[in-house]
Subunit: 436 residues, 2 copies
């Protein structure tokens, strides 16, 4: 199948403008969505479980009479695992073990130090009490996402993990429940949409109020998360998934073609970009794609994604490739090059960096260990993969000795008076030793 993928070169005039156009993405929740979500959130806040049941029956075409029917307890999750193909259960367990091992390295611990005068300063690290994990239902139900969202919270030591997943028409995905079981979810509630987000943020009789909500969702879920931000913590609001593959031209073109497909198959808005210093290699990858696409079960999605948002970019040098990679700040950056360790130190922005020819993104998506929840749409410029640190928080510790307080008060006092904050000044001055 012929593919009309945008192709350009860093030598073209207007290259940076072209690149910027390629990368631009804006997800706008229009006023209608905004209003509908606001009304749903308000109903859950005021009517609690009654509204939750009614909205769930309406949107998910269900027939629930009592909110308790929405709850799946931990023992039922274990039962679901019995119904799933053992090869999948085994793979989920192996993946969970690897994800856990990696995330343990991210766990932060409290620290403190003492100054000469006896004053102690430090930082106390604690896990969140309770976290809500949103899992989409229906066809986009990804068990791997359950692992990736739940495991860091478990490693952080979060007290209770509540998962919500819509079950349209009552259809329950056993693999998703198995992933919840393997990851250690405490309770699943079969609700979705803005109503699920609102219930987690404010609590109902059935859904406990959580401290943070993580996990992907559609525009209603994203809008609701943005709305409840502040009442609870939220993770980043994700845009479409993207990959940037950088090749020195010595990779197997079929492998690179399939790596690009693996991103494009997610959905029509997904973005796959190849950068290479080798124009012949770019042509070879394109030929591989045109040959391989015919056999792909999701070929229509792949074609739409590649032709709409994909690109093949020829650059003049390694330095230019790195510069472009830093402008893109890709969610997934694959460095399919010889000695990638010589490239990686110059990469300033990327969600995850897949190094060498044997590290396709798919391995990171499922089981390498690092998280697959990554900053999209260039937000790697300022944000990080989901991690244990997202489920821990810090409290500053200040414990002054009398002598220490006395000396600090002499610094604080003129600054407080400079800001016309007299009570601040006096509160400090009260602790000055000579003044008592």
């Amino acid at each position: 199948m012929q593919l009309n993928i945008r192709q350009f070169s860093s030598q073209d005039t207007g290259f940076k403008t072209e690149l910027s156009k390629l990368l631009s993405w804006e997800s706008v929740s229009d006023a209608t969505v905004q209003e509908r979500v606001e009304s749903i959130v308000n109903r859950i806040r005021t009517e609690g479980d009654d509204a939750l049941v009614e909205l769930t029956n309406t949107f998910d075409r269900r027939d629930v009479t009592n909110a308790s029917e929405l709850v799946i307890e931990a023992d039922e999750l274990a039962a679901a695992a019995q119904r799933v193909d053992s090869a999948i259960v085994d793979a989920l367990e192996k993946a969970a073990a690897r994800v856990k091992a990696y995330h343990k390295k991210q766990k932060q611990t409290s620290w403190q130090y003492q100054e000469e005068d006896g004053t102690i300063l430090g930082q106390q690290i604690t896990p969140l009490d309770r976290v809500g994990v949103y899992v989409p239902g229906g066809k986009a139900a990804y068990p791997s996402s359950v692992l990736m969202n739940v495991m860091p919270a478990k490693v952080a030591g979060v007290g209770e993990i509540v998962m919500v997943v819509p079950t349209p028409d009552g259809f329950v995905n056993d693999i998703v429940l198995t992933a919840a079981h393997v990851a250690g979810v405490d309770r699943v509630i079969t609700v979705g949409g803005a109503q699920a987000v609102a219930a987690l943020a404010y609590g109902t009789d059935t859904v406990p109020r959580v401290d943070k909500i993580v996990g992907p969702g559609n525009i209603y879920v994203a809008t609701a998360k943005r709305m409840v931000f502040g009442q609870v913590g939220i993770d980043m609001i994700a845009g479409p998934s993207e990959i940037l593959v950088v090749s020195d031209g010595l990779s197997n073109p079929d492998w690179i073609a399939m790596d690009l497909f693996s991103q494009a198959e997610h959905d029509e808005d997904a973005q796959s970009i190849l950068i290479s210093t080798d124009l012949e290699f770019i042509k070879a990858v394109k030929a591989s794609m045109e040959r391989l696409i015919d056999d792909m079960s999701r070929k229509e999605i792949i074609k739409t994604s590649l032709e709409g948002r994909g690109a093949l970019i020829h650059v003049a040098s390694k330095e230019e490739a790195i510069e472009v990679a830093n402008i893109v700040a890709a969610e997934h950056l694959e460095l399919s090059v010889e000695s990638p360790e010589e490239w990686v130190k110059d990469i300033r922005h990327a969600g995850a960096i897949f190094m060498g020819r044997y590290t396709p993104e798919a391995l990171g998506d499922y089981c390498a260990g690092p998280n697959h929840v990554l900053p999209t749409s260039g937000t790697a410029r300022f944000s990080s993969p989901l991690g244990v640190y997202d489920f821990q928080k810090r409290s500053s510790i200040i414990h002054c000795s009398h002598e220490g307080a006395s000396e600090l008060a002499k610094i604080a006092s003129p600054l407080a008076r400079g800001e016309s904050l007299e009570a601040h000044a006096l509160s400090a001055e009260f602790r000055i030793i000579d003044k008592q």
Copy 2:
């Protein structure tokens, strides 16, 4: 002056409801604010410097003809320091040195580990390229806030720090510029409001686009920050400041009264709460407050704040005091008790913990070392003080050996097929050794 401060006890019926009412705070930016901010943000995006100059002239009553007049370069900051009282410059420098020393302990470094088959996993830590710091102008201009917002970014190694501060009627606060100089700000731009936030988020010819915006501001600034979130990173949107003082009854009542005042003097919405197991002590603190308030220059603000949002709470035991402290999840928690180290391990939620009788909040506000930008309104349940970690970001590192990739592919493949993602499966399977 008599003070009508709410007083209640954990033994009252409906105590938890009363407590929850006391703590409730909702900052709503109404539709009018929302629309005005949206229009300002759009004008800056489309018209750039022209709109920035026009809006600044209008809102700040200025007479700027060219955007270049808005810029204060680093050498002019140094010159401002020459005009400021040397005692203040000295205090700023001492405070900055202490803040720097503490924050250095927060700096995270990259790590990696190798598995038996040669696969390398890790996390690469990099600083943000460019950060914007918003500093309010006029009467709420706090030089200490400049230090607290800029120092963590400096310690993180941020490449460039741009500060914006409105100068209504052209009035420039030399102490604020001195703080910027001491902290190491690269450039100050004298703009404020939603237009400053938009300029930092999208860039104009004069204002460079930044990767993250931090710093406090009014409702227009907060609304604009929420609007540009995603385009750039932002810090938490702060509510009114609060303090919770816990005393065992053996503290000096005057000291505690002044500590409560130091919070109340910020503004009418600020919240000061005292908890004690000792009812007599609560009465003594109230008497101290009624005696001391008459001499306070900001007594009207203090009175309004204490009577509107303050509270004196009697609890039955240390355990109850800790339980209430964890419900409040205060921005500032002062443990004015004997052996506070025996209390602190049970504190799960607090922005900063001030331990013992010699650690008033004011010392932490200016110079103890930890940051004074802290989670307000109970958000300490899920968020942390501003820190170096807010100006660093992480990229996951995955570098599979051929053998490692081959084994991981055998886990990834069934999971990918279970999610109907065939290209993911094939991309992984291509790296299986026997299959080649």
